[in-house]
């Protein structure tokens, strides 16, 4: 009998991919550098050797063509995984994903489904500037027909990847780079590493996770900010503020019930999102509360987000505006002190 192992997100997600590929011969991966380097974010490390190049398909720099091709293979019943490195590249092929892949089931009246998974890395905080540091959560979540998941830890990463590959809809599976455990970002974040069972299991979509119970304020996070919210909760304990942390992990479908249940309990809310602030995830969380439990709030809610600006290169500027455990805790204290 062997012991528990602690994995990084990237490794755990890859384990799910391997299991699904071993158990379904029509699951294949396509993307740039997946053979030569195992993918820039290690999503395909070792897979070409294990499964061969018919199933780990290296592609040129042709995002529109590749997503289109994957969509067609999915419509024919295969299960493609499209490895797109940085989510920032989605701009090149947005039509192929959001207008075609995501809408085909609807437009065909249910005749065709598109069981495809798009895997990409999100986020910044490592000086990779405006075009390689984005989250784009709201851009993707806004379009009907796709499911979007963002795990914040290794256990969820594996379970959500199993769910993603088995789902019959287009799923966008996003690795928050700051917590994924990637070779070029130093030591993996300890909160993201976790014991992961060796056998397959699913984490269902549409269910948020209460990663820490508390009574005074609800902190909602996604991906990197979910981990930051836990760090903020530790800081808040020093001020005797008990924070409950809600890890959204599933953006579409969104678990509005869990968000509202937590805010109904605590009466206070801070939403932390690494994406641009306006028109996004934080607004959707606030809308859920305003629509369903408007009188539950004892003080105005606050959001801690990246501002509505391009992501600057110089770290003096980038780190100044990126959400942090400190800024989340500050917002929480302001909500606690400002309210009834």
């Amino acid at each position: 009998m062997s012991s528990e192992r602690t994995l990084t997100l990237a490794r755990a997600g890859r384990e799910a991919v391997i299991w699904e590929m071993e158990n379904n011969p029509e699951v294949f991966m396509i993307g740039q550098d997946i053979v030569g380097t195992g993918g820039v974010f290690r999503t395909a490390e070792g897979l070409a050797k294990r499964f061969g190049r018919d199933r780990i398909v290296e592609s040129p720099i042709s995002e529109t063509g590749v997503i289109g091709l994957a969509t067609g293979a999915a419509m024919a019943g295969m299960r493609p995984l499209v490895e797109m490195a940085y989510i920032d590249f989605i701009g090149v092929c947005f039509n192929a994903l959001a207008n075609f892949a995501a809408k085909t089931h609807y437009m065909s009246g249910g005749q065709y489904s598109v069981p495809m998974v798009l895997i990409a890395g999100t986020g910044g905080g490592y000086s990779n500037a405006a075009q390689h540091s984005q989250c784009l959560y709201s851009l993707l979540a806004h379009m009907p027909g796709m499911k979007i998941v963002v795990p914040s830890n290794a256990y969820d990463a594996k379970g959500l990847m199993h769910s993603a590959i088995r789902d019959d809809n287009p799923v966008v599976f996003l690795y928050a780079k700051a917590v994924a455990g990637l070779g070029f970002l130093g030591k993996p974040h300890p909160r993201a590493m976790m014991a992961v069972p060796e056998e397959p299991y699913v984490v269902p979509f549409g269910k948020a996770r209460i990663s820490r119970e508390g009574s005074d304020i609800t902190l909602v996070g996604l991906g990197y900010t979910s981990v930051l919210a836990l760090d903020a909760a530790d800081l808040l304990m020093q001020d005797d503020i008990s924070a409950e942390v809600v890890d959204l992990r599933s953006l579409v479908p969104l678990d509005r019930e869990s968000i509202c249940a937590s805010v109904a309990k605590t009466g206070r809310l801070v939403v932390a999102d690494e994406d641009y602030g306006s028109y996004g995830v934080s607004a959707e969380v606030l809308a859920a509360v305003a629509e369903k439990i408007p009188s539950a709030l004892r003080a105005p809610a606050r959001r801690v987000t990246f501002p509505d600006i391009s992501i600057p290169f110089a770290r003096q500027m980038e780190y100044h505006v990126l959400p942090s455990a400190q800024t989340i805790a500050d917002a929480a204290r302001a909500v606690v002190r400002g309210g009834a």
């Binding site: 062997s2 012991s3 528990e4 994995l7 990084t8 070779g183 993996p188 590493m193």
Partner: protein, 78 residues
């Protein structure tokens, strides 16, 4: 008892290695061939597997460095 080392053919450069992460804690029971650690030499990351079945003993913690050829852990038969 067997030593856990980075295979000599992977260690080309004259630099120290660093343990990026341990997948199994100190004292865990491991099986031969399981990936037990992620190690980085210069800019390249490697998966290191257990050389035999047994109990893992860390000699270098996560973030710690070690030299070429040095055993950074051992696996003792139970």
């Amino acid at each position: 008892m067997s030593d856990v080392v980075v295979p000599a053919d992977l260690w080309e450069v004259d630099a120290q290695a660093v343990v990026v992460s341990w997948l199994y804690r100190d004292g865990a029971v491991v099986k031969q061939g399981q990936v037990i650690a992620e190690v980085m030499i210069e800019k390249v990351q490697f998966d290191i597997v257990a050389p035999s079945d047994g109990v893992l003993h860390h000699k270098i913690p996560a973030n710690g460095t070690f030299d070429r050829g040095e055993a950074f852990a051992t696996v003792n038969a139970e």
